[in-house]
Amino acid sequence: MKHISRIYTALVMVFLYAPIAVMVVYSFNASRSTSVFGGFSLKWYAELLNDSSTIEALENTLVLAVLSSLVATVLGTLSAVGIFSMKKKWAKTAAMTVTNIPMMNPDIVTGISLMLLFVFVGQMVGSKNSLGFGTMLIAHITFNLPYVILSVLPKLRQTDHHLAEAAQDLGCTPFMAFFKVILPSIMPGVFSGLMMAFTLSLDDFVISYFTTGPDFQTLPIKIFSMTKRRVTPDMYALSTLIFLSVLLLLILSNVAQARSEKRREGAKA
């Protein structure tokens, strides 16, 4: 049984990592092809660093991800608190149903529905090119919001609400009670919502594809237009770099987590 388990797990891992291995290997390919390997070279990495449009797309992606995840986190945390404290059951159900819509709908439908809204409003205002950074930012905030709300809500359920009441009895305004009592106790949820929103925004292609204009390109959009023609290995080089930085981040966070767990165990003993 032990052997079956190991072999099976290894096979699935081969399946999951085969394309990534291919990408890493071919990023060092001396020839231009993405199917024939013609010797080791670093020239695609050099080319990547000299390609200003790729660097610009990378910057755009990061700016968009930071802005949209921050706005979504603030707005989402407030709305989670609001939804949580709704007294009427129907209002709560309605709010949760609406929150679930962008998660349940296929990305392509979310993308085109927002695009139609932007184009429609654009036509009414009379602007010819309504799609761009602004519309993309709105779209990213919109699809990030549910993930923030759904990661904050469980933390709110775990929080003891008598504490906030106690704070108010002792003279806090509701505003102060929120910042001094509620917010610290839901912080882990807020943080994981922020991280999720950030990575979703970083990686989104489908919704961005329908809500962006010709003037604003993010990395996934750029990759898409490149894969329409032939992919050159510099895209593989870029993806390899992204892969390595994600790997590094994950290892670091795992080590930090394991350490803090050990410390907690040590404190208990």
Binding site: L16, L78, S79, M104, P106, P174, F243
Partner: protein
């Protein structure tokens, strides 16, 4: 006095989100319906909807491929989740990291890499020719499209099933053993029923993106396999027939909502709050 003020503050706090979701979630969906039932000049018409019969085959194919991909993912994911749940804590954390890691890579590049593996001069065919089997047509087939779906969305099947699997109380399994159940009946009557919520969310998370994909079919199907996502993408990005595109999206959305509603009837967990 204080209580009233608190209530008011709490109402105020969710106001921005209510406004936001009304404008950017509800109104866009109404826009889809509006475009689906109007023509280019904005007059009411049913032509877009009635013209959809032309795409019946495409709809059928998309549903079929997505269903195939979902079933295959489930078959691969279930044993994996089971094996994972029996590993040591450190190995479990390592495994869930390994399964999540590919999802952080750009999905376009990951899909594109499969071309290198499957192409006529690709890795598999090179290996096959070494042992004397002629080049096999792998790329640009329906099989390649389904493979692309399974590859991209498999983690979404593994993780929810694994999450419910680790929560199963091991003493229940021991009890089943003690009461004389065979490993098969233990799996069928104890483990399986308790993992149904995970299976259902896994199925949803694989089926919905598979049925609406357009990139995978373009790259791995070589344009021969037109899926419903491709047709929608075409209406919005090349032939600029927004009205027809909206009509197709509307039908796709309704189809998905119906299948989700049917699925959710099998799932009686309280979390969620999907109201259909």
């Amino acid at each position: 006095m204080n209580k009233k003020r608190t209530d008011f503050a709490q109402k105020l706090i969710s106001a921005p989100y209510i406004v936001w979701s009304a404008i950017f979630i509800i109104v866009p969906l109404l826009m889809v319906a509006y475009y689906a039932f109007t023509d280019k000049s904005g007059a009411f018409t049913l032509d877009n909807i009635s013209g959809l019969s032309r795409y019946a085959k495409t709809f059928g194919m998309s549903l079929l491929y997505a269903a195939e991909a979902t079933v295959i993912s489930l078959i691969i994911a279930y044993p994996l989740a089971y094996f994972m749940s029996n590993m040591k804590a450190g190995a479990q954390r390592m495994m869930s990291m390994l399964i999540m890691l590919p999802m952080w890579m750009n999905f376009l590049i990951r899909t594109y890499s499969w071309i290198t593996i499957l192409a006529k001069t690709g890795i598999i065919n090179t290996l096959l020719s070494k042992i004397g089997i002629g080049p096999v047509q792998l790329i640009n087939t329906p099989g390649a499209v389904v493979l692309g779906m399974v590859y991209n969305y498999l983690p979404y099947m593994v993780l929810p099933i694994y999450t419910v699997m680790v929560k199963i109380d091991k003493s229940l399994l021991e009890a089943a053993d003690d009461l004389g159940s065979s490993p098969i009946s233990r799996l069928r009557r104890v483990i399986f029923p308790m993992t149904v919520p995970g299976i259902i969310s896994g199925i949803t998370m694989v089926f919905v993106p598979s049925v609406s994909t357009f990139y995978i079919s373009q790259k791995l199907g070589g344009g021969k396999t037109m899926l419903i996502g491709d047709v929608i993408e075409m209406q919005f990005q090349s032939s600029y027939n927004y009205n027809l595109g909206a009509a197709i999206s509307l039908v796709l959305m309704v189809l998905i909502l119906i299948s989700l509603a049917v699925m959710n009837r099998f799932d009686d967990s309280e979390e969620g709050g999907i109201l259909i």
